[in-house]
């Protein structure tokens, strides 16, 4: 608890904040005595997992939590001395955009898609200028036209400040004409246009590639130094906290379990939950199977029985030889077409029986196209994909159908990849029905096997008759894995299987994958943008950039001794949860 202070540097003081939310099951308390204070120049990281209340804490500062269903039970949120919970909506509007700027997680959904970015920035600038005319640099009583022109100038200046090239022209572009990172910059420019004292950033880099994330973090860091802002940085990524933040508050189940200067908390965590959270982030020194998940807010017990040691990798099972994939260009006029887009340019890899092969790349690099080509969902333009001696492109649809039982995939989003109207039993049994020819199971046997698979992935037979919405993200991903295992495959494509999950759940799923590989002798083709995860689980790794393989080799080699510039850049951009190792703190311009 922070005693009320008269310190003029203190921007925000949250004291014993208690918030309840009404739901179908009655009122649930979602914030439980949250207290902390942010001063100018401080970057407070709020870390926690899904449902810990970190976003609600951020929204409360601007009082954007709808009431009802929300209800403040107790406590105060003082922003520069005034309790925002007691202000009128009109007063709150004088704070929002002017004194408190906010940016949110997904830059693609946070800009209005049907308006030019200039229009959106100008409206925010005009709003802020109503409260503080100096923002536009105009005398009071300037004409509407003059204010508009001045607002546009301010918008362009702010866009330049956040690093948008050709800002004067780009104000006329629509959001979809910007990349994800550029959109987030636009949103940051929008949040900064009113020259706020406090910036609330809710997972602003979660939807971005690591290299772009590094740029955005540098940008925020620079802005704090320049304008002496206070920042509330909400994230689930401990690496980002270690890089950027001066202070951190760890939230669990609506309460802050530990807070303080970032080095103290991350280096010497006192609370079990903080320790657990730190332990579930894959680190370079960890061997496979050493990650520990969290259970009920504390470190989970060690795995009951350690899995048998993995067999050494065998010969090549999947050979990708000089694969090129072109997509036809966009139509131009009646007959003309733009030149074809090369999604994969001469990609060659060998995956050995029983190993985990990692593929790392950023959005648009061709990762997903490659998996679609392997699964024969796309026809390759040239090259060969040979699985266990069989050229996949040369197979008839019937032969390919039989092969599909051997090559299965686990998808990224466990919320979207399970049919919400099917029971878990039906979801897992579906591939067994499709591959009835190979497996030849009766419906009764399918149910038995579904139950067996559920137990293998750490769920119980009681879950068979439930529906996907009754499960958490991690449990759903386990169901997705069970479904992939149903037709007894030997090759599993894992397309970002943990990127939608919290770190502690990610740790559990990674351990499960490790365990299954040892027991079943599976080969993994593991696609991820998370280098920590790749390093933890993969024996060998390939880096793909603009459809081209830029580097491949033994994982340890690539990580400790990267040869390509791209690999070096990616490794430098990867946020390390050790505050002493963070590039921003080292003040060395390692990043782009």
């Amino acid at each position: 608890m922070n005693p009320p202070s008269l310190d003029t540097d203190t921007l925000l003081e949250i004291d014993d904040l208690n918030l309840a939310m009404r739901s179908f099951e009655g009122e649930i308390q979602v914030l439980n005595g949250v207290s902390f204070a942010v001063k100018r120049g401080e970057i407070w990281g709020i870390v926690g997992e899904t449902g810990s209340g970190k976003s609600l804490t951020g929204l409360t500062v601007s009082r954007l939590v709808p009431t009802p269903p929300g209800r403040y039970l107790r406590g105060s949120v003082r922003f520069q001395g005034q309790d925002v919970l007691k202000q009128s909506e009109e007063t709150m509007r004088t704070l929002r955009g002017r004194r408190i700027g906010m940016i949110f997680q997904d830059p693609t959904t946070n800009l209005n898609p049907t308006f030019r970015i200039g229009t959106q920035l100008v409206d925010v600038a005009l709003h802020a200028a109503k409260l503080d005319p100096t923002i536009l640099g105009l005398p009071a009583g300037a004409s509407r036209r003059a204010r508009r022109a001045a607002a546009e100038k301010v918008a362009i200046a702010r866009l330049e400040e956040v690093g948008i090239p050709n800002a004067a022209e780009r104000v006329n572009d629509y959001p979809h004409q910007f990349s994800g990172g550029m959109k987030q910059r636009v949103l940051i420019a929008m949040a900064l246009i009113g020259r706020p004292d406090l910036l609330i950033a809710d997972e602003p880099t979660t939807a971005l590639d690591v290299s772009v994330q590094a740029q955005i973090l540098r940008l925020i860091h620079g802005l704090v130094e320049e304008h002496n802002l206070g920042v509330l940085f909400i994230t689930h990524n401990l690496g980002v906290v270690a890089q950027l933040c001066t202070h951190v508050a760890v939230m669990y189940a609506g309460a802050i379990v530990e807070s303080g200067p970032v080095r103290d908390v991350l280096k010497h965590p006192r609370h079990d939950y903080t320790r657990g959270l730190l332990a579930s982030v894959p680190k370079p020194s960890m061997k496979r199977g050493e990650l520990r998940g969290l259970a009920g807010g504390a470190l989970a017990a060690e795995a009951l029985a350690p899995p048998p040691p993995r067999a050494a990798p065998g010969g090549t099972i999947m050979a990708i030889e000089h694969v090129v994939k072109e997509f036809p260009g966009a139509r131009r006029g009646f007959f003309d077409r733009a030149p074809p887009v090369q999604a994969l340019r001469d990609v060659s890899l060998n995956i050995r029986q029983g190993e985990s092969f990692g593929l790392v790349g950023e959005s648009g690099s061709g990762k997903t196209t490659l998996t679609r080509c392997i699964l024969q969902l796309e026809k390759i333009t040239s090259g060969r994909i040979v699985y266990d001696g069989i050229d996949l492109a040369a197979q008839t649809p019937q032969q390919m159908q039989a092969l599909r039982a051997r090559i299965q995939i686990v998808f990224q989003d466990p919320y979207a990849s399970l049919n919400p109207r099917m029971t878990i039993r039906d979801i897992i049994a579906e591939p067994m029905e499709i591959h009835h020819g190979k497996l030849g199971l009766t419906p009764r046997q399918r149910t038995d096997r579904a139950a067996e698979l559920l137990e293998q992935v750490g769920l119980t037979t009681q879950h068979l008759n439930r529906f996907p919405h009754e499960f958490s993200g991690g449990q759903r991903q386990r169901i997705g894995i069970a479904r992939a295992l149903a037709p007894k495959p030997d090759f599993l494509i894992l397309d970002e299987p943990t990127s939608a999950l919290d770190v502690s759940v990610q740790a559990q799923v990674l351990n499960l994958l490790h365990d299954l590989q040892s027991r079943l002798g599976l080969t993994y083709f593991f696609i991820s943008h998370d280098l920590g995860v790749i390093r933890y689980i993969c024996d060998r790794v390939a880096l793909i950039h603009h459809g081209k393989l830029v580097e491949q080799g033994e994982t340890e080699d690539v990580f400790t001794n990267p040869r390509s510039d791209y690999a070096k850049m990616l490794l430098a951009a990867m946020p390390d949860p050790d505050p002493d190792l963070s590039p921003l703190r080292r003040r060395e311009a390692v990043l782009l």
Partner: protein, 335 residues
């Protein structure tokens, strides 16, 4: 963009060609003999044959179709067997009346439906929303001709505010013919008294007709506004302090209106083809009445003419709707 419009207009040709062929064939396949009907109850076989020759109906179907088609290019839509008047003349007289009615109904439906939908969404699950939803459900459920009768009873018979039926009183001078739509013509020629009279005749049928599109537009608008209000960018706009008014009428409206636009386009065609009940109740001299008469007497040429007209208007309206999508959504690219 211009290329796209031209291509879409070019597409009108096969659409109308196919439509004319279809209607031509179906009209001939109907049981009964229109020629005998037109020749009168006491006509001899020779009389019937001579009428058939007069209208070219003794020739093979393909030749008849070809003659019709080439006639169209000369502006000749054929001649009604029943009234013996050129179809083109009839259409010129009746189509504007229907267009006026449909346009007035759609203007009312759009003008009221969109703001009511927005209001219902903003006050979701509060009394303005319940009221708007209840009334719109009633409006959708009530048949148009019945509403028309109720309106006549209420406003014309009991209250005496508006005329009972018809389009313009015989006792007054109509405005000079420009578009054929009396209200528009009156305005164009500056005859405000005639405008008032024409409007008083137009009011009841237009209101009776607008209610079901009004209710649909309102419900669509409500649903899409609720969806847009839950978008992330609306939260961002609020978090940056923009006023509710600006957010709703500028930022939300433009995103929410696209889905409604589709409904507007579809309803336009639906109203054009479905005016007959309202026209009957209000004795409105439009193509609905004209087409019904033609169907009852199996008079081919008017049937085909009306069908082609409605088809052409429908395709054009939907082209306009597609163009509007492009204005509303910058991601739509015309190729």
């Amino acid at each position: 963009m211009v290329g796209y419009i031209l291509r879409r207009l070019l597409l009108l040709v096969p659409v109308l060609l196919g439509l004319s062929m279809l209607v031509f064939a179906i009209a001939r396949l109907l049981p009964g003999d229109p020629v005998a009907l037109a020749a009168g109850p006491n006509a001899t076989a020779a009389d019937v044959a001579s009428v058939a020759r007069e209208f070219g109906l003794d020739q093979p179907l393909v030749v008849q179709y070809w003659n019709y088609l080439t006639g169209l290019f000369r502006g000749d839509w054929g001649v009604s067997i029943f009234t013996r008047r050129p179809v083109a003349e009839d259409l010129a007289a009746y189509l504007p009346a229907t267009l006026e009615l449909v346009l007035a109904a759609m203007l009312l439906a759009i003008g009221l439906g969109i703001p009511l939908g927005l209001m219902a969404a903003v006050f979701r699950n509060k009394w303005p929303d319940f009221l708007a939803r209840t009334v719109s459900l009633g409006a959708i459920s009530m048949p148009r001709f019945f509403l028309g009768l109720v309106f006549q009873l209420l406003f014309a018979m009991w209250l005496g505010w508006l005329p009972l039926s018809g389009r313009f009183p015989l006792t007054e001078d109509p405005p000079p013919q420009i578009t054929g739509m009396l209200t528009v013509d009156a305005l164009l020629s500056g005859q405000f008294h005639a405008f008032g009279v024409a409007l008083s005749y137009l009011a009841l049928p237009a209101i009776a007709m607008c209610l079901s599109p009004l209710a649909t537009i309102m419900r669509m608008m409500r649903a899409s506004t609720i969806e847009v209000l839950q978008q992330d960018y609306v939260l961002t706009e609020r978090a940056l302090g923009l006023s509710q008014k600006l957010i709703l009428f500028k930022y939300v409206l433009k995103n929410a209106i696209s889905a409604t636009l589709t409904v507007i386009g579809l309803y336009f065609g639906w109203l054009l083809g479905g005016t007959v009940l309202v026209e009957t109740v209000f004795d409105w001299p439009g193509i609905g009445l004209y087409a019904t008469q033609a169907v009852l007497t199996q008079d081919f040429m008017p049937i085909i003419g009306v069908t082609l007209c409605i088809g052409a208007i429908f395709v054009t309206v939907n082209l306009v709707v597609d163009m509007l999508y492009g204005l509303l959504n910058p991601k739509v690219r015309y190729q």
